[in-house]
Point group: C2
């Protein structure tokens, strides 16, 4: 399998963690987002959205969207599971994952931050403010849920890492990049510490990738 | 079951379609987004994200995030299925759904448009432009995929409506609200016409809801 990614792409980072948790080794193709390689023809013909990641299977199928890729990995390589077995637990884990992937991440994407700069003549402090605002809103809600819900364990759901954790950790990585104070989120940082102690998470860190700058 | 929603919420609209396709009747609780009812304490204690929809089960569980709710409905009421049976097909449908739910919709949410207005002093034409820009980008990519991929049928995937369709139709509804020209997306509008001919989709239309204004 071949994973098209970028060291700093939060969505590619999620898939790297999932692959590591499953013990899978893939070929990595790096698409330099700041140089626009994801919107150039060779990659665009693979993924018309012009976003990373995309996963090419050995049979030539092209999978896009990090959460869809992770669900596919979990369906085709069931062990260790990245989602709990019961429907309510699965709904909880998917909701936690989506609260990051659909409500925080899309607003802080590189293409969006760049667009704010050109469209509204936003300077870097204004862009940082925008980024922090949506991160705080989302991470506050996530902290509230994880702190009060009995299904939270050492990880977001119970004592096994899964889909919610592999969304949370890259988002916290980005929060640090934007110098957010993580003190208001003790449950999130507690889970982060447990995750980053695992090689599956540590090896997927942006700095650990060959295309890191 | 009780669905907390709002007539114009695109994410609540998705869940209404799913419930209708499954033939399920639920109690509807309307949370007026423009009046901020989704961020007031009674609802906020139910869903700390302060977003609709949320689904309360008869057993008192609270499910959030439209895609997680739809997956739960599909796992607990399997017929008719909203996802195909094969992992690759499921990955395709989830990716199509996420390309709407994670890459178009979050940028055009009411809370985001309001924030642009206050943060960057954006006027209505500038906000409309922003909205149309991200819609076009996302819908262009979706049209490319759906037009060229052999798995596309009468609906986004084959000849049964499912998870991708119930994301697409509300997004096209919003595109019309923002006066986007839909001519560049003949595959999307062809699928839309087939969907809206079904009562499950038509009955879920915002205008058909009791809280419509």
């Amino acid at each position: 399998m071949r994973l098209h990614g970028y060291w700093r792409s939060s969505a590619a980072y999620r898939v790297r963690i999932a692959l590591n948790l499953k013990g899978l080794t893939v070929e990595h193709i790096f698409r330099h987002l700041r140089h626009g390689e994801q919107s150039a023809p060779p990659y665009l013909s693979l993924n018309p959205q012009g976003l990373v990641p995309a996963l090419e299977t050995d049979e030539g199928a092209v999978l896009t969207q990090s959460l869809a890729i992770v669900e596919w990995l979990d369906e085709t390589r069931p062990l260790p599971p990245l989602l709990p077995p019961d429907p309510l637990g699965r709904a909880r884990v998917r909701a936690l994952a989506l609260s990051v992937a659909a409500d925080i991440h899309p607003l802080g994407n590189l293409r969006v931050l760049r667009d704010l700069k050109t469209r509204f003549a936003a300077d870097q402090p204004a862009i940082d403010d925008w980024y922090r605002h949506w991160s705080r809103l989302g991470l506050d809600a996530l902290e509230t849920r994880l702190a009060r819900e009995p299904d939270t364990g050492r990880f977001c759901h119970g004592d096994m890492p899964g889909l919610a954790d592999l969304c949370l950790i890259p988002q916290l990585y980005n929060a640090r990049r934007f110098a957010l104070d993580l003190a208001p989120w003790p449950t999130l940082t507690r889970i982060e510490a447990v995750c980053l102690a695992l090689p599956a998470f540590a090896d997927a860190l942006p700095e650990a990738q060959p295309d890191a700058e």
